[in-house]
Symmetry: C2
């Protein structure tokens, strides 16, 4: 399975972003990609920097305009597309979602971000209801894939539950960056932790991991966010196969191979030895007591 | 909390190994350590390289000779000791265990390795029954710590369940190394995956991780195992604070600080957003179907 990640910047114009995304999908397909993944909410700048009810106008239904346009591109180019969208499900009910489009243009599946952050300049709990579809994988014509979104990447449970469905690759469309005031002191460590934990999901689960981030300094509030790019694909051993720059638009490609997955899992058979009899308390919020 | 890891080599003589361990614990305490952790089954060479019923003679009861000797050292030096032992629980029932010794020499707790590997030269399923005490933390007089053993380190569930008890540090006594025939081709990647996944446990859970390995080339079967040392301690951000060599005996020290843990968890509040309503299927062996 040849996969591609579209690392791009977003302008204030959603139509321009859609047009750019469509062009990149065509380019990736022309270069042999069978599955192309776009960054989280590629249609807009990262509006969650501030709370503004008018910004819900950016949301759209699924199916809707984006799935129609990208579905046509998917069909034309004969490629599976992972398209993260701001989903309008009902008045007052919105999700941070992604759609998997088949290479005939049809909708193969929907995932709604399960873990919703809320931090300075990342006011996602204001905009998005937590996903209610659980962790999902998709058996596409190009192969079996899993897909999660951004903040999900910090949760080993999310990677595990998706991997237990049996996919070859976990995709993580993302919008993560630096607060400019923190970059000098913490930027390298923040990026390092982000890459490390996703490589660990690959290792723990014997899957490829493909994370695609945006680039650019978007100033919608305060000093804005400097998105750190550095999209990457790693193999089931956690080895980074390809890594993007921090500041350029580019398409990353890699081959994901079931034979490699089989070999890695035979040599380090972690799935064999899981203590499923002893994991029940993972559904607890906390087990300790800090008052002691 | 000042912690210390004793990276050491093991001789064929269990008494000599115990004497060396006692000396190192004293040295670490003299250098200010409040908690000292020894490597997995420090009393012997890694006998699991072959299956031999006579090797069960290496096991001992808990409490037993090792807890008596090390308990005396702990009391004398005023230090908490994590002592991994080959536990004889009953005839025909053995565990790969660890004991936490308080600084008055008493036994503060017992953990029995939950995940048991079984691979060429690592015939652990022959020797050890899987642990039946679950994942545990220990509120010692030096602070609240968690402890797991070796193969456990590949399981995000083990780190999470232990971390949910509230400890500041997860200790991982270990015996891991290279098959000499694989070292050139895979050695660096194997070690890299090992360190990466443990750093990820620190990041996901906002805890310090302290992993202590043995060194030396032990030839008990075939070409033996070349233990890769490189014990390390990382902070709740996953940053490696100190890392040992691959081939020298040494004691590693680091400070673990509740204020650092608090700060890291406030800035990346992963525990807040866990979807405990959606993790129940983590107790399944597998959810997919490869026959399709």
């Amino acid at each position: 399975m040849r996969i591609a990640l579209v690392q791009m910047s977003m302008s204030p114009d959603p139509q321009a972003n859609l047009a750019k995304a469509c062009a990149r999908v065509r380019e990736a397909a022309a270069n042999g990609a069978q599955v192309v993944c776009l960054p989280e909410m590629f249609r807009s700048q990262y509006f969650c920097q501030r709370q503004d009810p008018s910004l819900f106008d950016l949301a759209e239904p699924i199916p809707g305009p984006s799935t129609e346009s990208l579905g046509a591109v998917a069909a034309e180019a004969g490629v599976v597309v992972i398209a993260p969208l701001f989903e309008r499900r009902a008045p007052g009910l919105y999700h941070n979602s992604l759609v998997v489009l088949e290479r005939d243009g049809s909708i193969a599946g929907l995932y709604r971000k399960m873990h919703i952050p809320d931090d300075p300049l990342y006011h996602e709990k204001y905009y998005f209801a937590p996903g209610d579809l659980g962790f999902r994988s998709f058996r596409t014509s190009a192969g079996h894939i899993g897909a999660l979104i951004c903040w999900d990447q910090w949760y080993p449970e999310a990677a595990r539950l998706t991997a237990l469905e049996g996919p070859l690759v976990l995709f993580y469309p993302t919008a993560i960056g630096w607060h400019p005031s923190e970059k000098a002191a913490f930027g390298e460590r923040q990026h390092g932790a982000w890459e490390t934990i996703q490589r660990a999901h690959a290792i723990a689960n014997g899957v490829y991991v493909a994370a695609v981030n945006r680039i650019g300094h978007e100033r919608l509030a305060g000093d804005g966010i400097e998105f750190w790019g550095q999209s990457f694909i790693c193999d089931p051993f956690g080895e980074v196969l390809v890594r993007g720059s921090a500041d350029r638009e580019e398409i990353l490609y890699a081959e994901a191979d079931r034979a490699v997955q089989e070999d890695v899992r035979r040599n380090w058979p972690f799935l064999r030895d899981r203590r499923i009899d002893a994991y029940g308390d993972i559904t607890r919020r906390f087990s300790g007591d800090f008052s002691k």
